[in-house]
Amino acid sequence: MIKIHNLSKNYGKDVHALRDVNLHIKPGEFVSIVGQSGSGKSTLIRLLIAEEKMDSGQITIGGWEITDIKNHEIPTLRRQLGVIFQDYKLLSKKTVFENVSFAMEACGFKSSDIKKTVNQMLSLVGLKDKRDRYPHQLSGGEQQRVAIARSLVHKPKLLVADEPTGNLDSINTREIIDLLKKINNLGTTVVLVTHDRDVVNSLRGRVITLEKGYVISDQENGKYLL
């Protein structure tokens, strides 16, 4: 699903956010990426969704080498991925339904298809009855579930999540992680960035640990190391 080869990314001369990273993530995996703050986790996600350009190395996603991706191809890439963030990144002036449907409208789907898919995704995340609310009328956990619904409308093969539970309490965290597991069980590859020890340990899956931009450990059935 994802092949990363000798990937490096610097900010300016002195900040080496990622150094010589090599990773291979297979379809259907649920991978956790852990590491202290500033270890380069978000940078890795930003490179995966072409929010930043890499300095050297290669990234291939689903057979598509995005190393030298053109600006006009970026929307196409993003429509094949699902992305969720710590701060949800919802459109504050749009309702729950509109937030989710926007991602489909941007791709030119038919209105009838959009209605069907959006309702389906909102049921999946359990927010069908709150479809007409605005983000500020939802709890953090609910907002994140909207973001997850939105990330799923394209039926992505890969879902990347950058600390999706960073702003949530443990109950909401549990719900979001369960949702991600459910999505993974439906066949989507999930890459979860987190520094929540309990989450990582409960997942009992593959854990990749970053430190100062290096991959320092990559274990099946791993534990939170640091």
Binding site: R78, K89, S92, A106, G108, S151, H154
Partner: protein, 305 residues
């Protein structure tokens, strides 16, 4: 088709759901076109005043009492032959008598008429001649001074307004010269204000723009609603401007009419009515154009994500 519909939908949502931002933006634009409209209105008032005064200006030629209608008509047709002459009006002795009686001269002076018998009229013919242009009166008055008419003409006067006209004309020339500077400066300020207003409004919504990009929207899909929305601002500003003009005129026109004693020398409402499409159409087009350009420039930075 679907995407056109979506663009319109998003533009309307953006316009109404960012209501206060829209209000502020429209207010700034309103200020810009308000100053332009004010200049346009003042320019019309200036021009109308000059035209009004010009209309009242004429040369009054009084014929000698013995001159009969035939000679008067000869002079009239000679005058009409001059390209400078716009109109010649014959004032008959009877009309002159009535004018004298109705004038605001004091009664003693008017009594002077009593020495004449009933049916006797001491007044003669006179001609009121108007030129196309103020400068042409000299030519007309020279023409009347020819030897040929020596025995006919008692007196020729350039009626009253001479110095007044000169003053107005000089003022007009000066205003003409400077109004271009004023308009240029105002336009420049307006452009800067509009550009910055749009920039701030886009900046306020930069997160929205970046989120749209992150969930896979193409640049045009993000850009189009913003561009359309910016023409809504222009439309709203111009509509409010029209309402303001309408109100101001409905208060101003009656007092202008009183000032000029019923003659609609300054017909502001007529002026705005007749040039409605031009004044407000151009305002809308220019404003929309400015908004679209500003929006495009302001968006560029955030679309890079």
């Amino acid at each position: 088709m679907t995407s056109l519909f979506r663009i319109i939908k998003f533009a309307l949502q953006g316009f109404f759901r960012n209501f206060w931002l829209s209000v502020v933006t429209i207010t700034m634009m309103l200020m810009a076109i308000f100053s332009v409209t004010l200049l346009v209105g003042m320019d019309y008032i200036r021009q109308a005043t000059i035209d009004g005064v010009e209309q009242k200006v004429d040369i009054l030629i009084s014929m000698k009492p013995e001159i009969d209608k035939d000679k008067v008509e000869t002079l009239v047709s000679d005058m009409n032959g001059l390209s400078e002459v716009k109109s010649v009006r014959i004032i008959t002795p009877e009309e002159n008598k009535v004018l004298f009686e109705q004038s605001n001269l004091d009664d003693n002076t008017k009594k002077a008429l009593e020495i004449f018998e009933e049916g006797e009229n001491p007044f003669s013919y006179s001609l009121a001649i108007q030129a196309h242009d103020l400068d042409q009166y000299v030519i007309i008055s020279e023409f009347a001074k020819q030897d040929k008419y020596n025995g006919w003409i008692e007196d020729s006067t350039f009626r009253d307004y001479e110095t007044f006209v000169e003053k107005i004309n000089n003022l007009a020339k000066m205003v003409n010269k400077y109004s271009w500077y004023v308009i240029a400066v105002f336009s420049l300020i307006s452009i800067i204000v509009i550009f910055n207003t749009i920039r701030i409004s886009i900046y306020t919504r930069k997160n929205e723009i970046m989120v749209m990009k992150l969930v896979g929207a193409g640049n045009w899909f993000v850009r189009m609603p913003f561009l359309l929305e910016s023409t809504f601002y222009a439309l709203a500003a111009v509509l409010i401007m029209i309402a303001i003009v309408y109100f101001v005129i409905s208060f101003l026109q009656p007092s202008l009419n009183t000032y000029f004693q019923g003659t609609q020398v300054i017909d502001l409402s007529g002026y705005f009515r007749n040039n409605f499409l031009f004044i407000f159409g151009v305002q809308f087009l220019v404003l929309s154009f400015l908004n679209i350009v500003s929006t495009t420039i302001a968006l560029r930075k955030y679309l890079k994500v």
